[in-house]
């Protein structure tokens, strides 16, 4: 799941200035889950913009903003999108990019795209993967130090780890502490002794 945060309304407002036909497009997958692009959030933004004097032409909630068949498909869901002079996409940067690629209409996003994270129950975890393109998460039994250590330490913890907490934020656990616990529980600590080579950023 892509973790997003809604931008403050004040920072969206300038994009609405001078527009006559603003159209809103949400995302019913990650952004809906994050409460940054589902139906309730779309309706809230419609209300806020109208109150600020910017009437909304229409809105649509595709399944995933990052996976849209065609612009015609969006028209078939709400033909008002044809008349828009501004599309506000309530999704991640990827969803916004896909929508932009389908049309010449001005497009911007209403969210900050934070990371690739996930949730179990109500617990949200951020930055679980940074898309390095050569995944070796199995070397750490499913806990990626490349993504979850702020210093991407691949060969063991930095000297800043203290009582299992990370030097960068003492509120967060050092990912190497999590790796140690997990690898210990499956008797695989010796596997961590392998030297990890630098990532290939060409991929």
């Amino acid at each position: 799941m892509i973790v997003t945060k809604a931008k403050p309304f004040d920072s969206i407002l300038p994009f609405a200035e001078g527009r006559k036909n603003i159209f809103i497009l949400g995302c019913n997958v990650c952004a809906a889950k994050m409460k940054t692009g589902g139906e309730p959030e779309i309706l809230k933004l419609v209300g806020q913009l109208e109150e600020a004097g910017h009437p909304i032409t229409g809105w649509v909630l595709p399944t995933a903003a990052c996976s849209i068949r065609s612009f015609d498909h969006l028209i078939s869901k709400n033909e008002k999108i044809k008349d828009a002079d501004c599309i506000l996409v309530m999704a991640c940067g990827s969803g916004t990019s896909i929508v932009s690629s389908l049309t010449d209409i001005f497009v911007t996003g209403t969210n900050e795209t934070v990371s690739l994270g996930g949730c179990s129950g109500f617990d949200l975890s951020e930055r679980l993967c940074v898309f390095c393109g050569e995944c070796n998460i199995g070397d750490f039994s499913g806990i990626c130090p490349n993504a979850r250590c702020p210093k991407a330490q691949m060969n063991g913890p930095c000297g800043g780890s203290k009582n299992g907490k990370c030097e960068v934020s003492r509120d967060s656990e050092c990912v190497w502490y999590l790796i140690e616990k997990k690898m210990d529980s499956i008797h695989s600590i010796p596997k961590l002794h392998d030297i990890q080579m630098p990532k290939n950023h060409k991929v």
Binding site: P150, K151, C158, E167, E180, I195, P198, H201
Partner: protein
């Protein structure tokens, strides 16, 4: 007093060594930092130059190391963190450092930018310290990271850093990885607990010279702060009590440092003096510890 010969030669001797640390200036007036260097250059077997320590902007360690050489000190240890340069920048600076006559390199990960004065900076960490050490080994063998041949290869004396908690098994594992790449010396985080340090030496079982870190305590608050907040530092109660009971904590801190050095002398290869601030008391502490006898 320091012997003749390079730091590398001295590491191969059986002498108890003293290293120190200076910080380049925040700005371009380097004379106060050179003065600080001069206060220890008569007895320091090597002097580290910090690389934007605490992720706080200073003059580059490479430039200041060269200035030290030009000002009469031939054995600077250029600290190099992985924080600010990618693999091209790191290797390029290593070649530059060698050409400028800088003989020693100390490799570390480096504090994260969020801990310093440019918290919005992009953290690089293209390499970690283990990967940088492997690359230095390649450079010394005449090849760059991509396997291309160099016109002439550098010949650095290479050091690494380590915490000394014997119970941190993944930190020890990382140290083992580091020293698998032709490492000449290990400098440690400040040591206050000799028993713990002995247990660390026992675990590491290495012939590589280990130089123990010394930070003179200046106040009871400083001791409490370091104990609670600085990773890798553990201060035994007895030391807290000594400093709390003293009317003159600075002198007591110097005595504690000297006592620690006396106990370290038979069990490791040297001490790395890293006072907070200038080296005003470094020579006094070493004298008190009978290091020069």
């Amino acid at each position: 007093m320091s012997l003749k010969g390079t730091f590398k030669d001295k590491l191969n001797s059986s002498r108890f060594l003293v290293t120190g640390e200076v910080s380049p200036p925040k700005g371009i007036d380097f004379s106060p930092a050179i003065q600080n260097m001069k206060s220890i250059q008569g007895f320091a077997d090597a002097i580290n130059v910090t690389d934007n320590q605490c992720a706080t902007l200073h003059m580059s360690s490479m430039a200041f190391a060269r200035l030290m050489i030009e000002n009469g000190y031939s054995d600077p240890v250029m600290q190099m963190t992985c924080r600010d340069r990618n693999r091209i920048g790191l290797q390029s600076d290593l070649l530059g450092a060698a050409a400028l006559g800088i003989p020693n390199i100390l490799v570390m990960s480096g504090d994260h930018p969020k801990c310093g004065d440019h918290p919005t900076a992009k953290p690089v960490y293209d390499f970690d310290s283990v990967q940088l050490l492997k690359t230095i080994q390649n450079l010394k063998n005449g090849y760059d990271f991509s396997g291309a041949r160099l016109s002439a290869s550098p010949d650095f004396c290479v050091g690494v850093v380590s915490n000394t908690d014997p119970n941190e098994r993944l930190q020890l594992m990382k140290l083992e990885k580091k020293i698998s790449f032709d490492v000449d010396f290990i400098q440690t985080q400040a040591v206050f607990d000799i028993e713990m340090f002995k247990a660390f030496l026992e675990k590491i079982q290495s012939d590589i010279p280990i130089i123990a870190g010394i930070i003179p305590i200046r106040s009871a608050q400083m001791a409490c702060y370091m104990d609670a907040n600085i990773p890798g530092i553990t201060i035994p109660n007895e030391i807290h009590e000594r400093i709390q009971a003293s009317d003159d904590p600075i002198s007591e801190g110097m005595k504690i440092a000297a006592d620690l050095i006396k106990q370290l002398k038979p069990i490791c290869r040297g001490v790395h003096m890293m006072p907070v601030g200038l080296h005003t008391y470094t020579e006094k502490i070493l004298k008190k510890a009978n290091v020069f006898e």
